[in-house]
């Protein structure tokens, strides 16, 4: 019955089952934590905690779709994060506006340069990506240490710290509501323009109620998210009566949303995205079709490098300092989120929104278990199990749908 409804709604079974799993996990954790997990305050924290993993997972989708791997993203996060912190604390006087802007540029430049270097080794020198980025994993962790000889670099500029979603790190209620309305308007516009396009080429669009239900669900999710973020109290920002104002959407979440929207668009609507998927589906076909396969592979590592740098900015901003230990084990969480989100190691299959859902799932479990006082080793064991179970489900599902 349920699968019939899903088919009628033309929903992706993989995505909808992930959303279903997420809802179940959220309810169970909420009951176990006596309402703590689904409190607005915790959900705000969760949204911020998701961002670092999710930002990098968006790029990892492309990498794994093209049959490559990048194990260096965690170390590169540390290296570019340390470069940003060094620029701010050592190269510029404290509190300088130019300092924090240049520190972001420095992090992005390092991320792009390192990515270009690793990409060249993979695409031009033909060294397997696993080896290149395994070496990168070691080298850039070491480089992160050498930036300040292991010292923690602080303090970072208050405006910069807002990028981490902490103090003043959200956009407030009015802007959040406006953004939510904009998103809802986009959902409606997208549905109607798709129907118009289909009619123009004589394709029968789905029944109106199907699009209405789908659009309604999406708008409901947007409204729920915006509402939760807006009721999350900001204790550093009180009104005249002394009650905390609502936070609104966190800045890291905004950065993530821009990246997700951009990379989803690139995957579905541009030549570049089409070629990455074609290359992952059949590298020989891509070559015989005259696609510039070297450049495609090369570009992937530049992308993950830049995204690692963005994640590094969010991480250091959130911590308020630069420490060389940041991003440890992050590459494994990023790859896990990507795979849980439905990206296949066989290549050619994967989606950016899926990887974000995977990142939310991992962050939710981690966050919930922290609330339940589960120890760090136990959390790692549990997330490992979830990774295996999710891929196992996928294998079983693929088998059943193939017959």
């Amino acid at each position: 019955m349920l699968s019939g409804l899903l088919a009628r709604l033309r929903l992706d079974p993989r995505m909808s089952s992930m959303v279903g799993a997420l809802v179940v996990i959220a309810i169970v954790l909420d009951v176990m934590t006596h309402g703590l997990f689904l409190s607005a305050e915790n959900l705000y924290n969760l949204s911020i905690q998701t961002c670092v993993t999710a930002v990098m997972a968006c790029g990892m989708v492309y990498v794994i779709v093209a049959r490559q791997i990048d194990l260096s993203v965690g170390s590169l996060l540390a290296f570019s994060g340390m470069a940003a912190a060094w620029t701010q604390t050592r190269a510029f006087p404290p509190g300088s506006t130019a300092g924090w802007i240049c520190s972001i540029l420095a992090a992005l430049a390092i991320g792009a340069a390192v990515g270009a270097f690793q990409g060249a080794l993979v695409a031009r020198a033909r060294i397997p990506a696993f080896i290149v980025t395994l070496a990168g994993y070691l080298m850039f962790r070491g480089a992160a240490f050498l930036v300040s000889d292991g010292q923690t670099l602080a303090p970072l500029h208050p405006t910069y710290q807002a990028l981490g979603g902490g103090v003043d790190g959200a956009i407030g209620v009015p802007a959040s509501v406006a953004l939510g309305l904009l998103a809802a308007a986009w959902v409606v516009w997208h549905a109607t323009s798709t129907r118009r396009d289909q009619r123009r080429y004589g394709i029968e669009p789905a029944p109106v109620w199907v699009d209405a239900v789908k659009g309604g669900l999406l708008c409901l999710a947007i409204a729920g998210f915006v509402w939760t973020m807006c009721v999350s109290p900001d204790f550093t920002n009180l009104d005249e009566a002394g009650t905390p104002k609502g936070r609104g959407i966190g800045i890291p979440v905004l950065i993530l949303l821009v990246i997700v929207a951009f990379l989803t668009f690139v995957a579905q609507r541009t030549r570049y995205g089409r070629y990455i998927f074609a290359y992952g589906g059949n590298p020989e076909a891509a070559l015989l079709s005259g696609l510039g396969t070297n450049w495609l592979v090369w570009s992937l590592f530049i992308m993950t490098g830049v995204l690692s740098a963005i994640a590094a900015v969010i991480t250091t901003a959130r911590l308020g300092s630069g420490a060389n230990s940041i991003g440890q084990l992050q590459e494994l969480y990023v790859i896990s989120a990507t795979v849980i989100g439905g990206t296949s190691f066989a290549g050619g299959i994967g989606s950016v929104p899926g990887a974000v859902l995977g990142a939310i799932l991992i962050a939710s479990l981690d966050n919930g278990m922290v609330l339940l006082d589960v120890s760090s080793p136990m959390r790692q064991i549990f997330i490992g199990i979830v990774l295996i179970v999710s891929v196992w489900f996928d294998v079983v599902y693929q088998k059943r749908s193939a017959t």
Binding site: D197, R271, Y279, N282, A285, L288, S289, G290, G348
Partner: protein, 266 residues
């Protein structure tokens, strides 16, 4: 060796400049001469069969014509003008479409995605125009195989004949004047083979020149005007199909010698 000797068998139906002239083309991989000073012509509206054992050099020869490999020496002339292909894109731009034996399809993409791979139709915003590609693909596919409806499935889920249809459709849509088909019927059932052979005949009638690699002597004798036989990278000879029997051609393939009576042809 003079020019007259190298291409003794000229199709009587074709006149003027050949669509393709291959002159002393060579390619070696290490010490192996995959293609060794091969000459070959293709005229508009004719089908030339490329025959030979596995490893005779047929595929390498066609891959040079389709821009995948660069020749070590020799030249390729298209409509009388010498061409140098840096990539498959250049060959396509010169009007040479190739249907590779592997079909070169990305299994995860749908029919239109594969049909337009590398030559996507774009909107005025420089984004992929998926609807238009879907529309155009269904038109091309309907011409080849009216029963083929599920073109929006990933190619992975299609039958051998459907995959072949996508690959042929890809060549047709872009108005190929020169078509290279590498064993197009190898994995097909009788009905699909018929579809491919009928397509070849129709394309010839439209003035398209076709190189057909095949091991199926029956197919070659049905659709080809001439046959070029290769052995160990070298050209054994080119014969007119009407002048020879299947046994003659088999002898050329196996022994690497030209039958006596075919020597006089052309």
């Amino acid at each position: 060796m003079s020019e007259a000797n190298v291409s003794p068998a000229i199709s009587p139906t074709a006149a003027g400049t050949p669509l393709v002239q291959v002159r002393q083309l060579s390619k070696h991989f290490g010490g192996v001469h995959a293609v060794d000073h091969v000459d070959c012509d293709l005229y508009a509206g004719e089908c030339v069969g490329l025959l030979g054992h596995n490893g005779a050099g047929k595929t390498v020869l066609t891959k040079m014509l389709s821009g995948v490999y660069a020749p070590d020496s020799g030249s390729i002339l298209v409509r009388g003008e010498e061409v140098h292909f840096e990539s498959p894109r250049d060959a396509r731009a010169a009007g040479i479409e190739t249907i590779f034996q592997s079909l070169a399809l990305a299994d995860n993409l749908d029919g239109p995605g594969n049909l337009f791979l590398g030559r996507e139709l774009m909107t005025k915003w420089r984004t992929l125009d998926s609807r238009r590609m879907e529309f155009e693909s269904s038109k091309v596919i309907a011409r080849l195989n009216p029963n083929f409806k599920n073109i929006l499935d990933p190619v992975l889920r299609m039958s051998g004949g459907q995959r072949q249809t996508i690959a042929i459709g890809r060549a047709l849509y872009f108005d190929a004047r020169i078509l290279i088909m590498d064993e197009p019927c190898a994995a097909l059932g009788p009905a699909e083979t018929r579809m491919v052979l009928d397509t070849i005949k129709r394309l010839k009638a439209e003035g398209i020149g076709i190189f057909l690699i095949s091991h199926e002597m029956h197919d070659v004798f049905e659709v080809c005007e001439r046959a070029a036989v290769m052995k160990n990278g070298a050209l054994v000879g080119t014969v007119r199909i009407e002048d020879v029997t299947q046994d003659d051609v088999l002898e050329m393939i196996i022994l690497g010698k030209r039958p006596a009576k075919a020597l006089t042809s052309g």
